[in-house]
Structure formats: structure tokens, C-alpha cells
């Protein structure tokens, strides 16, 4: 009964629902990455813990636009709690800030990403697609088999790939990490930054050790997803770009 949704024949290429979710998630991730970097440019400093700002220590300062290490601060105002106590400073620098549209676009598209990832996981679980196509068998995770798969990837010229499963071991690991780890965590770490979510469900920011830690994790996951995308596009290009694009868009193998 569940086989009707999944590709009945192993040669049929990508199932229609896989193709739909793939392009929805791809479009959402690209829009989120774009708006996310615009948001990051307003304050290109990253922290660990619950709170962080220009007057506290950052673990990373990104040279993104004119807000990078900007000056323009009035003398500190102390709160009377000793020389090492907290201070306040007025910012006199006119920062780059496009968050009005960037934030609203980010959250609008985030609803779409969450819906598409959720739909993919639910349909994938019910059809057996996740188990059959994405999860590597335990026996395949032995060092000799992993090594053999790495060596096969280094062969030149790269083999022409058929569009769709079955996937090789490195493919399975990469796709599984994205759909089971990176995408759910990027949504969760995004939610962990929200003041309303933090008040209603404090366990979400607690998972990451505070909302500024969640913001740092959110950024690191963007880097991981960008790295995946680069390798993914390179592999598609090397193994038959046009045929692979057609298979992921219209289905079939040829």
C-alpha cells in the first residue's frame, strides 16, 4: 500500500514528492541564506551564552560590510557597581541595517522551510524512502567499506550517475546529515533566538546553552549547509549535470 507513493520500480528515478520537496527546500534555503546574511550584516559579531553585544567579548567578528568593528561610541556610563561593573555606551555610528524586510522575509520563508522539511520527513517515513534510500546499513559504516567508498569517489573520470536512488555511502551520509541533523537544527536554533519562543518554551534556547550560543550555532549550520551545497553542485556537475537536473525536475532516468 505504501509502495504506491514510493517509486514502485527501482529504475523510476526520483519520486514526484521527493522532487517537489527538493526544490521547495532548495528555494527556501537559498532565500533564507540571502536574508540571513543581510540580517547578520547588521551585527556581524558572534557570542557564546545568553547575551552579547558590542561591549562584551565576541568569539568571531565577521568582516561583512561597514558595521565590521565600527567605531562611534560615546564615553561609558557606569552603573555604580565598581570599575569592572557593567557600563552603557551610546552608539553615535549610523549602522547598516536592512532588517525591516530581511527579518520578515526570513521568517516568512522559514515557515515554508519548516513545512517542506516536515512533509518530507513524514512522507519519507511512511513510504520507507528514508530507511531504504537515505539511512546507511550499519554494516556499511565499517572503516573498510567507508574507505572503499571514499576511494571510489576519487576515481577519475567520475562515473555518470543515474538520477535517483540507490545512493552510494557518501551520498547517503551527506543527505542524511542534511535532512536529519542540519535542517532540523537550523530551524530549532532559529527558534531559540526568539524572545516569545524563549518565554513559552525555555527548553529550546537551553538546548544550545543560551540564545546567543544558538545564534552562533545557526551561523555555523549555514556554513555547513553552504559547504554541502558546494560539494553537491560539484558532484552533480561532474556526474552529468543536465541529466541529473532533468531527473530531479521531471523524474525518470534518461
Amino acid at each position: 500500500m505504501t509502495a504506491s507513493l514510493e517509486t514502485a520500480a527501482p529504475d523510476a528515478g526520483h519520486a514526484a514528492w521527493v522532487r517537489l520537496c527538493h526544490w521547495l527546500i532548495a528555494a527556501a534555503v537559498l532565500t533564507l541564506a540571502y536574508s540571513g546574511v543581510v540580517i547578520l550584516m547588521a551585527h556581524p559579531r558572534l557570542y557564546w551564552g545568553n547575551a552579547g553585544n558590542d561591549l562584551t567579548r565576541a568569539w568571531l567578528e565577521l568582516p561583512l560590510g561597514r558595521n565590521y568593528r565600527h567605531g562611534g561610541w560615546a564615553p561609558p556610563l557606569a552603573f555604580g557597581t565598581g570599575p569592572a561593573g557593567p557600563v552603557s555606551r551610546v552608539r553615535t555610528y549610523d549602522i547598516f541595517n536592512q532588517n525591516g524586510w530581511a527579518r520578515s522575509l526570513h521568517f516568512l520563508v522559514a515557515w515554508g522551510l519548516a513545512a517542506a522539511v516536515f512533509a518530507y520527513l513524514v512522507v519519507g517515513a511512511f513510504t520507507g524512502h528514508l530507511r531504504r534510500a537515505l539511512l546507511p546499513a550499519l554494516a556499511d559504516l565499517s572503516p573498510p567499506r567507508l574507505w572503499a567508498d571514499v576511494r571510489a569517489h576519487l576515481a577519475w573520470p567520475p562515473p555518470r550517475a543515474a538520477g535517483g536512488p540507490p545512493y552510494n555511502l557518501m551520498q547517503k551520509l551527506a543527505y542524511a546529515l542534511v535532512i536529519f541533523a542540519a535542517l532540523p537544527l537550523v530551524i530549532l536554533s532559529g527558534l531559540a533566538m526568539s524572545p516569545a519562543v524563549g518565554a513559552a518554551w525555555p527548553w529550546i534556547p537551553a538546548i544550545f546553552g543560551g540564545s546567543q550560543s544558538a545564534r552562533s550555532v545557526h551561523f555555523l549550520l549555514l556554513c555547513a549547509l553552504a559547504l554541502f551545497l558546494l560539494v553537491h553542485l560539484a558532484m552533480v556537475a561532474l556526474t552529468g549535470a543536465w541529466r541529473q537536473l532533468r531527473a530531479m525536475t521531471f523524474g525518470g532516468r534518461r
Binding site: 551585527h43 559579531r45 555606551r89 549602522i95 525591516g100 524586510w101 524572545p195 540564545s211
Partner: protein, 252 residues
């Protein structure tokens, strides 16, 4: 804090508002002016109201107070600041030179007893002190201690009408911020007159600022002048968020 099990009435109300989770809202809802982004803002607002109970924002120990930057308007009397209001700047300057003795907060709109409150009036009401995190839309955050009058208490004292749905906060600069009645009655939503145990400094909104701990920092409006309770969303135009391209709801 443990979450209470949803009472049936809340469940039914939740299901009813689930019906309006879509792009259409009821009359009196925040306008979208046909913008997809503004529809997304309202979707997030609806979803938060459907899913979230009355959870409290985390409160920190005094030892966790951090340094804090002061941004936006930091002196309403300074004509060089972007949100300077030529009609209010001089008045603010005079009040400040009088140590805010003549300052009054106006409470108006959908209340049975509109009125004016001095700082001393507000300080006579029960106060709440909280060490909370300020989350700025820019991406930074800071922890500080705030003391003030719960807004819900002041609204009840003013005889807020059962039809009230939104509250507009007016400042001594050009800014007006709108919060919904749920956030207005949140126990941690206070009108703060003290910060880190001292009078609120001018750069942080003297003599009185809002603290809306379930929302981003820009909803915690500084330099309060007037509070207007409304039965429907009253768009403050160029003084508000929407017509400047920002989300009126800032829970995320």
C-alpha cells in the same frame, strides 16, 4: 516553570484562531496593505497566540547583568537624532531640567477612567523588579535589572474595557509602538522607571520606558508620554512600524 494543561476554553479559542491562521484576518487586525511580508508577520503573531501559554521570560541573577549599548533615540531633545520630534523635543528638555517632576503619563482610549499619572503616582502602585535579557533585532542582547509598574495593573486601575485588543505606546520622539492585549497583560510587561537599581538614565528612556520581555527590544519603547488602548489595530502611520517596512509583531 511548568506549563498548565490547556483548559478547554483555551483549546476552543485556539482552534477558532487556527481558522484565521491563514492570510485573511478578522476586521480590526493589523493591516497588511497587500504585502506578503506583512502577511507573514501576522501569520507568526497568530501562530504564537495559538501555541504559546503565559510562560515567563527567563530571569537572571544580578551577577549576570552585562554591559549594554544604547541605540535608537538616546536624547529626545537632540534635534540631530533621526526620530527627533520637533513638537515634543523642547517639552522633553524642560521636563528633564525639572527632574521630571512635571512629567505625566497619559492613559487614554478604551478605558473607563482615562487619566494622567506622575512618577510618584506610578511608584505608589505595586512594583515588579526583574533581571531580564534585552534582545535587539540587530542581533545583540544584554541583561539588565528593571523596576517598574506592571502595565496590566495600570490598565486594570484605569478600567480597561473588555473590547480592548491593542495598546499603542507613544514616546517623546517620533515613535509609536503597538503591542497586543496579551503582551500588555503579560506579568513581565512593566513600565520601568529604574534600571540596575538606579533611576532610568536618559539614554535608556528616562523617565519611563516599556519593558516587553516577550518581544524584541524595539517594542520596549523609551521616553513614554502616552498610552492609548484600542479595540482595533490603529496603524500609527509613519510613526509606527508597518509603514516604515517593519513587523509590528516582534516576538521572533
Amino acid at each position: 516553570m511548568s506549563q498548565p494543561i490547556l483548559p478547554r476554553r483555551a483549546l476552543i479559542g485556539g482552534l477558532a484562531s487556527a481558522g484565521t491562521l491563514g492570510l485573511a484576518g478578522c476586521s480590526g487586525d493589523p493591516p497588511t496593505y497587500g504585502s506578503l511580508l506583512r502577511m507573514g508577520d501576522n501569520l507568526t503573531w497568530r501562530a504564537h497566540r495559538l501555541l504559546f501559554g503565559r510562560g515567563l521570560a527567563r530571569e537572571y541573577d544580578k551577577s549576570e547583568i552585562t554591559s549594554i549599548v544604547a541605540i535608537g533615540t538616546t536624547d529626545p531633545a537632540n534635534a540631530m537624532e533621526p526620530a527627533f520630534d520637533p513638537d515634543q523635543g523642547d517639552a522633553y528638555d524642560r521636563l528633564r531640567h525639572g527632574a521630571f517632576a512635571d512629567w505625566r503619563l497619559e492613559v487614554a482610549g478604551s478605558v473607563a477612567r482615562p487619566g494622567f499619572y506622575s512618577l510618584a503616582d506610578l511608584q505608589r502602585l505595586p512594583a515588579r523588579t526583574q533581571v531580564t535579557k534585552h534582545t535587539c533585532e540587530e542581533g545583540w542582547s544584554a541583561i539588565a535589572q528593571w523596576t517598574g509598574t506592571p502595565l496590566g495593573l495600570l490598565l486594570k486601575a484605569s478600567g480597561v474595557k473588555p473590547t480592548a485588543r491593542f495598546v499603542n505606546l507613544h514616546a517623546y520622539d517620533m515613535l509609536v509602538e503597538t503591542i497586543d492585549i496579551v503582551d500588555a497583560f503579560h506579568p513581565q510587561t512593566i513600565l520601568a522607571y529604574a534600571m540596575n537599581g538606579r533611576d532610568l538614565p536618559v539614554q535608556h528612556g528616562a523617565p519611563l520606558r516599556a519593558r516587553v520581555e516577550t518581544q524584541l527590544g524595539y517594542k520596549s519603547l523609551k521616553f513614554l508620554r502616552r498610552i492609548v488602548v484600542t479595540d482595533r489595530f490603529e496603524d500609527p502611520g509613519k510613526r509606527g512600524d508597518i509603514q516604515n517596512g517593519w513587523s509590528w509583531y516582534a516576538g521572533i
